[in-house]
């Protein structure tokens, strides 16, 4: 196909998304940047960013976010990873059933998940409190206590998100060629050695991608917090995504909100940048130029 015509067709096909891109990405971004760097009068100012440094709620949000992030990712990732390995090791007819069940939490709306865990975490009538009573952890106001609200949130989030990690790792495990295992068994490796020296290196891309996607997913999370704790008690479960919303729609401080939004974007951007270094977009899309014959 002639080079010029190909480009024309390509542009025509891509025009809808370009329009969308302009309206819903470029324009909002410009709007945010504009707002972040101006004050109400329209003058250029860095005050919005300076306010960030002295904002107590922001620093609480950031430390909460770190807490939430580390706790969630650690828990979700380990659980998801272990479950993936376990299911992978299992050979049998129940495999599909197991996989379907593990898959379920991902299909449930975060709002409903919030609802579920409200019921479960209730101090008086919820099953969790009841089950933990014999261990001396009963009669606790899980969602209402400053110190336990975040762990409760992390627990609910793990239930929701660990299947996501599971999915990625499991998919990665499936791409490992069985011949590698056959060679390993002929070479005399034990099961553990095979896992450590063959399987793990083979799924390294999945391991990294799962971690990064998990991280990004956790940082993005809003719905669950809104429903489960609404940021409380007090500011105990204020995380960055939640605070960004609050500043915009509870405080109505457009300029400050824009500054915070940009901060949030930058943080996510860092993770995406890391992810891009580990995934080969070119390979995924076959964009490497082919050789002539």
């Amino acid at each position: 196909m002639q080079r010029g015509q190909a480009l024309k067709v390509g542009l025509v096909l891509a025009s809808p998304i370009v329009v969308y891109f302009a309206a819903f990405f470029i324009y909002p971004l410009v709007n945010l940047i504009q707002n972040a760097f101006t004050s109400d009068s329209g003058a250029f100012t860095l005050a919005n960013f300076q306010s960030m440094l002295s904002d107590p709620i922001l620093s609480v949000s950031l430390s909460n976010t770190a807490y939430y992030f580390v706790g969630s990712v650690a828990l979700e990732y380990s659980v998801g990873f272990i479950v993936a390995v376990l299911l992978y090791a299992y050979t049998g007819r129940l495999k599909t059933i197991f996989r379907t069940i593990i898959f379920l939490p991902l299909m449930v709306s975060p709002v409903v998940i919030g609802l579920m865990w409200i019921l479960i975490l209730n101090t008086n009538y919820g099953p969790l409190d009841y089950i933990l009573t014999p261990f001396g952890l009963g009669n606790i106001n899980w969602l209402g206590s400053q110190s336990l609200a975040m762990p409760s949130l992390i627990l609910a989030n793990t239930w929701e998100y660990s299947p996501f990690v599971f999915l990625i790792i499991y998919a990665g495990l499936q791409t490992v060629s069985p011949q590698l295992y056959e060679a390993a068994s002929v070479d005399g490796l034990s099961r553990f050695q095979t896992f450590r020296f063959i399987t793990l290196p083979a799924i390294r891309p999945s391991i990294v991608v799962a971690f990064l996607l998990n991280s990004i997913g956790v940082l993005k999370g809003f719905d669950l917090i809104y429903v489960l704790t609404n940021g409380g008690p007090g500011f105990a479960t204020y995380i960055l995504s939640f605070y960004t919303y609050v500043v915009g729609f509870s405080f109505f401080e457009t300029h400050y909100a824009a500054a915070i939004a940009l901060l949030f974007l930058a943080i996510i951007g860092a993770f995406v940048f890391a992810m891009l270094r580990f995934t080969s977009v070119e390979e995924y899309l076959g964009l490497k130029r082919g050789k002539g014959e």
């Binding site: 196909m1 002639q2 050789k291 002539g292 014959e293």
Partner: protein, 358 residues
């Protein structure tokens, strides 16, 4: 009407020159083969003729019409791909019918034409099936049907037999040859298999590294190769090629290399020249004793009616073709005899064949 003329065709990908100033004339109704190793540019040449790639410089004429800037569908060519490229989501009938449908042919006429072509190719029983439900050989015939249904001017085939198993390949070869003759269409066939090329082609163009080394009928290619590459590429097992020097000695011209000396018959040379000597396996004789070059048998391959015996003369290995089962085993001492008329000489630097004196 459907001759193809290619003038000075060059194709570059960035700095990479894939085809270098290629010129060809293909007559109407010829079964023309582009032969060469992978990377030689033969598929690229075919794709340029089809219009799937852009020409860097040069021209292509189909039936006296310059087609450089024409889209594939405007060139009225048909192509069969190595993996047949059938539309997986359509059944056989729809696959064959699509080219006609796109040209706005009426359903009634399309129906008739498709069935006609299906009959010719013996696939009329498969019309309802989907590509994944039929065998490789059947898929190939569907691809052929789809190509022929449009009555194209030119028929382009890109290694269509590579995906078939050996026996099927031989059958398909013969089938294609008959079909081509029957339909009488100009056909360009790309392959890296020289046996395939020599059995079906009226003429062959040999390509190496983007250049044409020789265009000739199969017999001439075999007996009078233009250069060392062609000599070594055409013919299986390959021609024996030995480097050395040709010089005039006391008893006439002779070839001298580290391991052997062979008398030459009036080579077209004036002075001492570095040459490559070529001789086909069937032109050599081997015996356990007797006159000739001494060596030892290093390999024997039995093929039933003929055998190939490899004899090591010093560091040089020579392959000799013998009828039936030879009375030689690995390790035996043997002598090899050259007949000077059957020997070909190539200039060692340019690779070109040196003509004998008339």
């Amino acid at each position: 009407m459907s001759e193809i003329v290619i003038e000075g065709l060059t194709k570059k990908y960035g700095k990479n020159v894939v085809l270098d100033d290629v010129s060809l004339k293909i007559s109407a109704k010829e079964y023309f083969v582009l032969l060469g190793p992978s990377g030689s540019g033969k598929s690229t040449l075919l794709r340029l003729i089809a219009g799937l790639e852009e020409i860097t410089s040069g021209s292509i004429y189909i039936g006296a019409r310059k087609v450089n800037d024409l889209l594939p569908k405007e060139r009225n060519v048909a192509m069969v791909f190595q993996n047949y490229a059938l539309y997986p989501h359509m059944n056989v009938f729809e696959n064959i019918a699509l080219p006609l449908k796109v040209r706005g042919m009426r359903k009634v006429d399309t129906d008739r034409k498709v069935r006609e072509v299906a009959e010719t190719l013996h696939i009329h029983g498969l019309l309802e099936k989907k590509p994944k439900q039929i065998s490789g050989g059947e898929q190939q015939r569907v691809a052929l049907a789809r190509a022929l249904v449009r009555d194209p001017t030119v028929f382009l085939l890109d290694e269509p037999l590579s995906n078939l198993d050996a026996k099927l390949r031989v059958e398909a070869r013969a089938f294609l040859k008959r079909l081509q003759k029957e339909v009488g269409i100009t056909t360009i066939f790309v392959t890296h298999d020289q046996a395939e090329a020599t059995t079906i082609a009226t003429r062959i163009a040999v390509l190496n590294k983007g250049r044409i080394t020789q265009v000739d009928d199969p017999y001439m290619l075999y007996s009078r190769p233009n250069d060392v590459f062609t000599a070594g590429f055409v013919g299986s097992p390959s021609m024996n090629l030995i480097r050395g020097v040709a010089r005039k000695g006391g008893s006439g011209w002779e070839f001298h290399s580290e391991d052997l000396d062979v008398g030459l018959e009036s080579p077209g040379l004036v002075s001492e020249t570095e040459v490559t000597l070529g001789v086909r396996p069937e032109e050599l004789e081997v015996s356990k004793d007797g006159s000739g070059l001494g060596g030892s048998v290093s390999n024997v391959e039995l093929l039933g009616s003929i055998s190939y015996v490899t004899v090591s003369v010093g560091k040089t290995s020579l392959i000799i073709q013998l009828p039936g089962k030879p009375d030689l085993e690995i390790g035996d001492h043997a002598t090899v005899r050259f007949s000077p008329e059957s020997v070909l000489l190539f200039d060692a630097k340019s690779g070109m064949r040196i003509e004998e004196k008339a």
